[in-house]
């Protein structure tokens, strides 16, 4: 069991990388603590599988180092890292029985047969494979095969971490939740560091305590599902997490007269805190992107001081809630209405609570609550959370 540290890690598949786009993994420093259940969430092609293969040693990073419990493992081959990895498509050794499959990693390292037996029985019990042990692995169903793949990771005592690479892709939907629960249960029982790669936010948030969102080869945010939802550190997180994703619109910082600046979306002033305005002014950022989650948009029936008049476009009824699309200043935005809320039509009024209205410069959140991060941002004009 181990914590996994990525230190100034970067990876490229090209020989002479010149621009950041040449990197599948852009330089990052990141720590997965011992015993945690983590998800690595991102769209396909964002580099998450590359990152996973670097951790397991199947790929050698072009820059930086991988540390297990503080020890550099770059030079260690996968077989020496004591890592288990479960792949997207179940890998079983067709000609062997389920028992032999599970025993395979143990026999490879010369564990005495009586220990192999007890360990295999133990793991088979947990994975509910006990009655399949004598069957040939070839004839198993996809979910059973995937369980065997996981089991091969679990039988070894010395495993420092288990990596999952979208392990439920080929599993039937009704079996998915079962396997996911099994994983969770295994995690609690074994206290092994687990990293789970997926592109499905639901899978990520049900499995993991903390989620790293990856985008364009970078981890743009690492936090609890709640943090990702309430305080997206990057416009991509806002867009990718939640359904529908965050509403974004471009606003301009306009000074009216001497001190009184305001963020303007067309002719409308979007209210933010004074501290935020001061920060933006200090940064010299006059064009920003603003974002608000549909869940936090307030819909009013009548005219209201803080509310803007908007036109209803259409309403989608999704059963337990409704999604209202409206046109604000010519741009389509969404708001979530609860089931019992009245369905409006024609012109309505919406307001954006200051607390939930986020401001982004160059796609990164301006977070005035976190002073340390703010300083970073000032120095590098790029943001860290």
């Amino acid at each position: 069991m181990a914590s996994i540290t990525l230190n100034a890690l970067a990876h490229t598949y090209t020989d002479n990388p010149t621009k950041p786009e040449d990197y599948a993994i852009r330089e990052m420093t990141h720590v997965w603590e011992q015993g945690g259940a983590f998800a690595l969430l991102g769209p396909s092609g964002c580099g998450k599988s590359t990152l996973l293969n670097i951790i397991s040693g199947l790929l050698e990073p072009s820059d930086g180092e991988v540390l297990f419990d503080g020890k550099r493992v770059n030079e260690l081959k996968p077989e020496e890292r004591n890592i288990a990895q479960v792949f997207q498509f179940p890998v079983v050794y067709d000609t062997m029985t389920v028992f032999d499959n599970l025993a395979f990693p143990l026999r490879n390292i010369g564990v005495p047969e009586y220990k192999v037996k007890s360990k295999v029985y133990e793991v088979a019990e947990i994975l509910e494979l006990s009655d399949q042990l004598t069957r040939k692995a070839k004839g198993l169903s996809a979910d059973q095969k995937q369980k065997v793949s996981m089991g091969r990771g679990l039988v070894r005592d010395d495993v420092s971490a288990i990596l999952f690479d979208e392990p439920l892709t080929v599993i039937d939907p009704q079996l998915k939740w079962k396997l996911r629960r099994k994983l969770k249960q295994i995690h609690e029982q074994f206290n092994i560091t687990m990293v789970y790669v997926t592109h499905d936010q639901l899978e990520a948030s049900t499995f993991a305590d903390k989620i790293a969102v990856m985008y364009n080869g970078q981890i743009v945010q690492f936090g609890t599902p709640r943090e990702l939802f309430e305080n997206p550190a990057h416009t991509f997180v806002g867009y990718f997490i939640g359904s529908p994703g965050m509403n974004f619109f471009d606003a301009e910082l306009k000074s009216q007269g001497d001190q009184k600046a305001a963020l303007m979306f067309g002719d409308h002033e979007i209210s933010v805190s004074d501290a935020m305005l001061t920060r933006l002014h200090a940064m010299g950022a006059d064009k920003v992107t603003m974002g608000i989650r549909p869940e936090f948009v307030h819909v009013w029936d009548g005219k209201n001081n803080d509310a803007f008049p908007v036109d209803v476009d259409y309403v989608e009824d999704l059963g337990t809630y409704k999604i209202l699309s409206f046109l604000f200043n010519g741009q389509v935005m969404k708001a979530r209405l609860s089931e019992d809320q009245k369905v409006p039509s024609g012109q309505i009024y919406v307001s954006f609570p200051e607390q939930w209205t986020k401001v982004y410069v160059d796609d990164y959140l301006i977070d005035i609550a976190d002073q340390a991060a703010v300083n970073d941002t000032v120095e590098e004009t790029d943001h860290a959370n």
């Binding site: 199947l58 081959k77 890592i83 890998v91 067709d94 000609t95 062997m96 395979f104």
Partner: protein
């Protein structure tokens, strides 16, 4: 396997194949059957003799020897070519320019006309003008494929190994290439040894292609004619006279059409039987999937 649609009109699609193969297969086969039951002196004088030729063929000790030699030969070359082919396939790089290059180089012997293969070895094995022959004499081996039966037999085997191991190697190579990378990755993570990777990942994936390979090699070696004909002419003595050679000697050399035809049929039936066994095995294996 997906279930196929039942449709007897598909016969129309198969008809051209049926006609063209039937023209080259059924008519000549009928001729052979016809000959096999007649005694032919000239095209106008022939007598019906029933199964007499078949009896003669079954009892002909020269043919028994040829058959025995044939089986010995086929098994020998299979025993060498299959493991050697697997080894070569395992050594061939799977990616990059090396892959194409080694593929082309390894395949070359397969594209040489069979009599030229014989010619190449005829030259190569001669002690006076051939490198191999000269090398053998050089290391003190009294080697002469033209006069020593053992040397002749070994040379034919060596030639076949040279000629056909590439087929087994390429078959295995294509089988190996079909193994997804993730299997090797999983094996590394499971700390599998090189042998375990071969035994539990590569070999199982090779069984299918190996069956095809063994089938093709068995059949083709069973009908081998041209290469030994050019190299040794079936001699010295009858040390390299395999079934096809005996048949051609009998039919064309001695013009014993009746016995030759009967012999042909028996020969064909043996091949058909072995072929059927292989075919059923392959079909059953595909059903298992």
């Amino acid at each position: 396997m997906q279930t196929k649609v039942e449709n007897n009109k598909a016969w129309f699609l198969v008809l051209p194949v049926f006609l063209i193969v039937a023209f080259s297969a059924i008519i000549p086969l009928m001729t052979v059957v016809n000959y096999s039951v007649q005694d032919i002196f000239d095209p106008y004088t022939r007598y019906f003799v029933g199964t007499e030729w078949f009896k003669q063929v079954m009892l002909d000790s020269r043919l028994h020897e040829a058959l025995l030699r044939q089986f010995l030969y086929s098994f020998t070359i299979l025993a060498i070519e299959v493991p050697l082919g697997i080894c070569v396939a395992l050594m061939m790089p799977t990616k990059g320019r090396g892959a194409s290059l080694s593929l082309i180089l390894v395949a070359i012997p397969l594209l040489i006309p069979w009599n030229v293969v014989g010619t190449i070895w005829q030259i190569f094995g001669r002690a006076d003008i051939g490198l191999f022959g000269a090398f053998m004499s050089g290391i003190g081996v009294d080697y002469n494929y033209a006069s020593d039966p053992t040397d002749a037999w070994l040379t034919v085997v060596l030639m076949d190994v040279w000629h056909w191991t590439p087929l087994v190697a390429l078959l295995c190579y294509s089988g190996l290439r079909a193994i997804p990378e993730v299997y090797y990755q999983a094996a590394r993570i499971d700390q599998a040894s090189r042998w375990a990777v071969f035994r539990y990942i590569q070999l199982p994936k090779l069984t299918n292609v190996l069956i095809i390979g063994v089938l093709l090699r068995f059949m083709d070696s069973f009908m081998i004619y041209t290469e030994p004909f050019v190299l040794t002419g079936g001699g010295p003595g009858s040390s390299t006279t395999f079934l096809s050679q005996s048949l051609v000697q009998q039919a064309i050399g001695q013009f014993d059409l009746g016995p030759a035809a009967a012999f042909s049929l028996v020969y064909f039936l043996i091949i058909l039987l072995v072929c059927w066994v292989f075919y059923t095995t392959i079909m059953n294996m595909q059903k298992d999937k």
